[in-house]
Symmetry: C2
Amino acid sequence: MPETMTMVLDKVNSPEDLKKLEISELYKLSDEMRELIIKKVNTTGGHLGPNLGIVEATIALHYVFNSPVDKFVFDISHQCYPHKIITGRKEGFTSPDMYLKYTGYTSPEETEHDLFKIGHTSTSVSLATGLAKGRDLTGGKENIIALIGDGSLTGGEALEGLNNAATLNSNIIIIVNDNDMSIAENQGGICNLLTELRENNGEVKNNFFKALGFEYHYVADGHNLENLIKTFSLVKDTDHPVLIHIHTIKGKGCEPAMINKERFHWMLPGELDRLNDAPAPQSESYESITKDYLLRKVSEGEPIIAMSAATPGVFGWNKEFRDKLGTHYIDVGIAEQQAVGMASGIAKRGGKPILAFMSSFVQRTYDQLSQDMALNNAPVTMLIFWGGISSADATHLCTFDIPLISNIPNIVYLAPTCKEEYERMLDWSVNQNEHPVAIRVPFEISYSGEKDTTDYSVLNKYKMIEKGEKVAIIGLGSFLEKGRELKEQLKTQLGINATLINPRYITGIDKSMLEDLKAEHSVVITLEDGELDGGFGEKITRFYGNSSMKVLNYGALKEFTDRASVEDLYNRYRLTNALIIEDIKNIL
Amino acid sequence: MPETMTMVLDKVNSPEDLKKLEISELYKLSDEMRELIIKKVNTTGGHLGPNLGIVEATIALHYVFNSPVDKFVFDISHQCYPHKIITGRKEGFTSPDMYLKYTGYTSPEETEHDLFKIGHTSTSVSLATGLAKGRDLTGGKENIIALIGDGSLTGGEALEGLNNAATLNSNIIIIVNDNDMSIAENQGGICNLLTELRENNGEVKNNFFKALGFEYHYVADGHNLENLIKTFSLVKDTDHPVLIHIHTIKGKGCEPAMINKERFHWMLPGELDRLNDAPAPQSESYESITKDYLLRKVSEGEPIIAMSAATPGVFGWNKEFRDKLGTHYIDVGIAEQQAVGMASGIAKRGGKPILAFMSSFVQRTYDQLSQDMALNNAPVTMLIFWGGISSADATHLCTFDIPLISNIPNIVYLAPTCKEEYERMLDWSVNQNEHPVAIRVPFEISYSGEKDTTDYSVLNKYKMIEKGEKVAIIGLGSFLEKGRELKEQLKTQLGINATLINPRYITGIDKSMLEDLKAEHSVVITLEDGELDGGFGEKITRFYGNSSMKVLNYGALKEFTDRASVEDLYNRYRLTNALIIEDIKNIL
């Protein structure tokens, strides 16, 4: 639409304004919001499909309820763009120079209409039960509304939350936004029962939600404002738990996003403009190496099974690849605990599970890593992708996987630094039956040019890259490269021929090598791409605690950063050659 | 029964033997097994109610299926005593001198009939889906059977597991052992739907399990061997997911355990002999202090809410106390993720949640601690009980809570050393709104005799107990006492007047005090009652990494110990005055 035309949105600066509009205007508003979202996301990248699907429902919610008195909790909250537009943040969608002003998630720092920062799924129902209970304890009367996607519904916290919400004996309204998709396809019994409900207009013999104890309503067309408003009005101020199941279309209003729901769940900038481009030639990457390995093993008849918890795209496991794997692939849905429990069972029954997680999501399971897997020494292979310091949103940081995984007994957590090591480690892990193994897959490919023939079953043997003196640099995983650069600078600037070590094992200390360093070194530097607290370097420092060796640990501080530039973070963490050399000079 | 009488059990040395018996003999066997279990548990302590309830079902399972080819997974596995008796370990129940030979949980080290070590609930379905998938990948044909209690069913992993099991398209048999109890009362919608199923002989309008996609069977009397055997036989070798709901009586065959199901879920030695004893006079404890505090705050009209995830007994929150709290108490069931998510919501809505966990179970939630609570700075108060090195079973270790909690940003984790500090910390935490706070409640009460007037909002200020020289001892929480003893020994044995510090904060460093120590000390000793890796002491060591201060960290090694004596562990961890002094002598 030409920008000179009058927009309904011009009249909407807060939810209150919405209530004055006619239904026809609300529909026009929906169209305007869709257009803004498409344009903005195609410029900055972000979540497209989820937001396009929830436009009318968000308008209807704000039309019927009274935010911020009534309280909304958006699950994952990457479906909150329409909510942001309505609640005073439309400039983040109308003005390209404001596109990055607001996060892609709800944020209490931005407005009183947002209650929580939420970036991991399946949390909304639990949080809403808390808001409801807090309201009841303090004598409040408002409505508490959780909006959860069908994909998020399969996560343990969501299911625990539903079990509790159902017997709250008080006002709570759960809206299940059912678009028949998780990030990839939906999985499991809940997916099937939602399908059955949709196919029968909400009338089925065995209604899961009614069985739990909810008053259940079905809205067949989740883009019909009249029906949404009618249903929301009906349950407003309820005194008991209600669940409204609305059927929406992911990507609604954007043809490519409706056709390819998985690709446009989250998209890169400009992707809508590249629809017809020939696929860019794929250069080799850790993703492609992993995929080739898996396919080869399957073709060799190995009982391999690649496993994902709803995020196959993170590892490049697209539909074509998944189809090739066939029964050698399983997506358990958003259910990381199930993923680890199931992988442990598969491994104990002779299968070879290779379970991939994005670093930020591995923390959605912990007890399973410890009890199902580690305590039972189940020979699962876990691949941890994207671990490291990044400019991510506060909800998607990837700096915590080392403290999380490496302090659990029995797990062997490996940090390859190049293709050769990665392939060797992966193959070793898959072929052994003694240890649960995790591999921290680096982001960018590199090559040592030397075949790796290491026997990784001899645990905790570090690799001496070059023996020098005075200063020893231990560069973990992708930070070995930083170690190399530091070594060069030490030579140039201080004339020190430093030792460089590739530790390879995150979960153990090479006591013998560390002991040997004492002879000709007075300083050890550790470099890790993750949180220092509870991480790798501290173990090295502890080892040297009774000696005169000085040890400097470099990595991330214990903090939630939020879209900070990596350069700023490196400076603040003193993770630059100049700052490290300054520190070394101070103690030499 | 007189021991000279012929027992059916004499004929049963393996599951095979069972198949040769008449039904009447199986009933007699049930009685014999019950008697053995009661006698054994009343001698050693252990889980009584769960095991008495599952005797007939276990017999029927082994009668119908062929273990170890067919595979059983017992959820929690504290209902595995009958299974142990049948699978070659009856000596552990017939011979008092063998009572402690076997663990109270399944253990693959004991027999091929056990697949996993399992001590945390809600894992069986996930593990079973893995066994089933592993079987299918490797061309096996056996039955996979998970036995899960109704209480365990409310845990996230169990629900994620059911969602996946329902669409496995392959043999898997889930047996829900419904005794209408968790450890305490059951909670939530699932509890209600099970009740409805029981009251209607399995025939209801909205069947939760059928909704998920299971073939569903109900056995109204889970102690009727004929019915159990008939139903198990019917579903044996099924090619699709089946769920059998059996109704049993917790504590069956032991009157006191049937009357007081909560008290006899797990019992101390001899408790059956003390039924009519007047309750022992309760001396003051951290449990009683906590209870008094909660009741006082409620009576003052504070929006306090005490929260538990199914284990109120661990904190002494008995029925009488819970009834007194009324709406100021909530048990979310076995659902730790929900507990943290809900607490975060309550705190954000002005309520004052005080959420108690046993150390070993706090690890059943992690992402919620990080995302729902810490990232949102929700002012939740968490009480962590039983943290420390112990002789516990490998599945119930309490050494991991510090690495787990303390490396998450924003959480303030406190370690009181006496009643005065505990009360002050608790009250500070409840009255502030800035931080999520966890308090590590010591096991044994002690008193400083001094009113604590600390303002704990000034974070990370350690307390100098006594300033000395050369050696500084930092004794965390309950290990401050160890620090005191060590200080005395250093005086006596080496003539050193050591400094003693009570750090109080687990999650931060008092840089100023640590810096000051450099002047007159050359050695710092840290003492913590938990895992060293990722723990408290390593942070101190890292702080001193660039200095000439020597630092020795004492605590638990990274390992799963199993019913090891604390004395042995202390010796192995060098956690004795003699060994520490030896280490100090070596570096002074």
